[in-house]
């Protein structure tokens, strides 16, 4: 499938601070792409370069034209409808039918003629999404679109984006530090940390790439931990559920563990192959727990970024 965004060894520094260091990824047409990383990872800088708001020090960031949505950037003194008309005029003749349809799509028909300055944050986010869809773009770039939304708003936005992707075949570039959002919405992700790509790939692959994990409900937790520790390929810890242990390994050792426990006289009530969550992968890759105060570490003084290739 053709790439709608193709980023190749993109670098960017702000003085001595290295924001991006030779990051590369591509987004295929029609996919919902997650751009994941803690605050300060370089997500917004990458998006700003994609949008032409900043220049890269090196590398290329070719893209086909797409609409954008960052923080809800709208004119408060205009109504929602007039905002859409105004932005639509920058793309060509205003299509009133499309403006009305978009207001309906984001659930803003009733409030479309009110001034934006009277809107809640959720309404602004929805209108900004409608703005981003003017001109029927093939690509939507969404930078932290759930900022400021309540759970209902987040749920509504997620349903809407999924609908856009499946029904209209839109490519969605979804930047977020909220793992649950990315996990539920995206087909493929890139994990960015301190300006570097830490992982990239299909979400399902990424969550399994680091091995296998099992939850085993046992009759004697202490004895079970002692038994599993003797297995070379396994790491074990007490489970989060009562009378359970969690076993991790880079190999599929379910039968070996089960056999060892039963042989040692430990009762095994249940052995469940648990899917590793994106959060586990994320913590392993970035070393920070999402939402923790450590999620925005100051970047270390980097070596000067070497310009590579043509500028974007």
């Amino acid at each position: 499938m053709a790439a709608i965004i193709d980023v190749d060894r993109l670098s960017k520094s702000f003085g001595a601070v290295r924001a991006l260091h030779e990051i590369s990824f591509s987004v295929a047409e029609g996919e919902v792409f997650g751009f994941l990383g803690p605050n300060g990872a370089g997500k917004t800088t990458t998006i700003r370069i994609l949008l032409g708001l900043q220049r890269a020090d090196g590398g290329t960031a070719a893209r086909l034209f797409g609409a954008t949505l960052e923080q809800p950037a709208l004119y408060g003194f205009l109504s929602g409808r007039d905002n859409l008309r105004l932005f639509a005029r920058l793309l060509g003749p205003v299509d009133e039918k499309q403006v009305t349809e978009l207001l309906g799509l984001v659930g803003m028909t009733e409030r479309g003629d009110d001034k934006v300055q009277r809107y809640s944050m959720g309404m602004r986010q929805r209108l900004a999404l409608a703005q981003a869809m003017l001109g029927k773009p093939r690509l939507l770039i969404l930078d932290e679109p759930t900022n400021g939304l309540d759970p209902n708003g987040i749920h509504g936005l997620r349903i809407l984006l999924r609908k856009l992707a499946t029904e209209q075949g839109l490519t969605i570039f979804f930047s977020s530090h909220l793992l649950s959002e990315v996990e539920e919405l995206c087909d493929r992700v890139v994990v960015l940390h301190r300006g570097e790509v830490k992982a990239a790939g299909q979400l399902s692959e990424l969550m399994n790439v680091k091995g296998f994990q099992y939850r085993i409900d046992v009759s004697d937790v202490e004895r079970a931990i002692e038994v599993v520790r003797s297995i070379d390929a396994a790491t074990v810890e007490q489970g989060t559920i009562k009378d359970s242990i969690t076993v991790s390994s880079d190999q599929d050792i379910a039968r070996i563990v089960n056999h060892a426990l039963v042989t040692a006289g430990v009762g095994v009530d249940q052995l469940v192959h648990t899917q590793r969550g994106l959060e586990d992968v994320y913590i392993e890759l970035t070393g920070v727990s999402p939402g923790s105060p450590l999620s925005a570490p100051p970047p270390p003084p980097p070596p000067p970024a070497a310009p590579v290739g043509a500028k974007s």
């Binding site: 702000f14 700003r48 949008l51 032409g52 708001l53 900043q54 220049r55 034209f65 609409a67 954008t68 960052e70 923080q71 950037a73 709208l74 004119y75 408060g76 003194f77 205009l78 007039d82 105004l86 932005f87 005029r89 920058l90 793309l91 060509g92 703005q131």
Partner: protein, 363 residues
């Protein structure tokens, strides 16, 4: 595409700042009402005065100036102020010479059937409507509006949306400059018509729109062949309008320059501080130079340094056929001031373009 951009900018300016225009309209109405009240009280009449032919007005002015010469000469003979300063830094001899020159200038115009500038309501409007206090205030409002053009978009973060649209930075900046200029042109034209109506009322006639007027090439020298430019009335009006709008454009260039590098409130603050502060600083420095050197002519160079955007038109204002003129007035001065303003304007816009072109939006 570019026209759509300009249209969008005009719409944004009107929708976000219509209150400013409404307030300006209200101020104009108040000024007009105040002037009319003053007219009624001072002239003891409600209706306009009867129109007076310019030749008659000129003869009356010659009579007044001749009486002035006589009075000044008798004052000098009494020895009260001989040799010393008489009015400000003007000696009585200089005052007599200026009054005599005014008489000679008027007589020359009368003898050669050349209408002076004040012979037509529309020329008076051009001088005072486009070179006086009204433009002084309007230009500051235009500067304020222009300073918000880019800085406001940056503060609202809408600049990211605009720049992600299929348009270049150059197009966006140019559209904003053109929209600012068009708004100011409309406001200036409407203001001109209001002032014209007021002047016509006070003059008792809207005056001729056709015919010729004369302007001294050098206002400090006697009017006569070689020191007069004769031109159609409407050309003169257009010349003043052009001078005033160049001043507006210069201020808008400066405001845009500030706007491309700051946020909204910083841009407005810096722009207004410069626009109100510069005349103040200029006046103080002029005063110091005048005190030290003994003549205000030595401070004339400040007009170029402080970008006095009213200078072109106001340099013509004192050049009435019957008014004493000083150095730094006349068509020559108008040309010099226009050139100075043009250089500043180009410099401001070039700097604004360069900085905006290189600017990376990080906010």
């Amino acid at each position: 595409m570019f026209i759509s951009l300009v249209r969008t900018e005009l719409q944004k300016t009107w929708r976000s700042r219509w209150v400013v225009f409404a307030v300006m309209g209200g101020i104009f109405l108040l000024i007009a009402g105040g002037l009319y009240t003053y007219y009624v009280i001072s002239q003891h009449r409600w209706s306009p005065p009867p129109a007076v032919a310019w030749q008659t007005a000129l003869r009356d002015q010659i009579t007044v100036n001749q009486r002035n010469v006589t009075d000044l000469q008798s004052l000098k003979q009494q020895g009260g102020v001989a040799g010393g300063p008489f009015r400000g830094d003007l000696s009585i001899d200089a005052a007599i010479a200026r009054a005599q020159k005014a008489v000679a200038d008027d007589q020359y115009l009368l003898d050669n059937n050349i209408a002076p500038l004040q012979s037509s309501a529309i020329t008076i409007t051009a001088l005072f409507g486009l070179g006086g206090i009204v433009m002084f205030l309007l230009i500051r409002i235009f500067g304020w509006l222009a300073s918000e053009q880019v800085a406001g978009e940056r503060s609202d973060r809408t600049i990211a949306i605009l720049l992600s649209r299929p348009m270049s930075r150059d197009q966006l900046l140019l559209a904003k400059a053109v929209a600012s200029f068009l708004v100011s042109l409309v406001v200036v034209l409407v203001t001109f018509l209001i002032v014209y109506a007021m002047v016509s009322f006070i003059q008792g006639s809207a005056g001729p729109l056709t015919g010729q007027v004369a302007i001294a090439v050098d206002g400090s020298k006697p009017v006569g062949a070689g020191n007069l430019v004769v031109m159609p009335i409407m050309l003169f009006v257009l010349m003043c309008l052009g001078g005033a709008m160049l001043g507006v454009l210069c201020v808008q260039g400066m405001s845009l320059l500030i706007s491309v590098v700051t946020g909204r409130w910083a841009a407005i603050g810096i722009t207004l501080a410069v626009l109100f502060g510069a005349p103040l600083v200029s006046a103080v420095v002029t005063g110091i130079i005048t005190v030290i050197s003994g003549s205000s002519d030595n401070a004339h160079f400040l007009t170029y340094l402080f970008v006095n955007v009213l200078a072109p038109v106001s340099s013509i204002a004192p050049v009435f056929g019957n008014a004493p003129a000083v150095a730094g007035t006349g068509m020559n001065e108008f040309g010099t001031q226009i050139t100075t303003l043009a250089v500043w304007t180009v410099a401001f816009f070039a700097a604004a373009w360069l900085l905006f072109h290189r600017k990376q939006e990080t906010g």
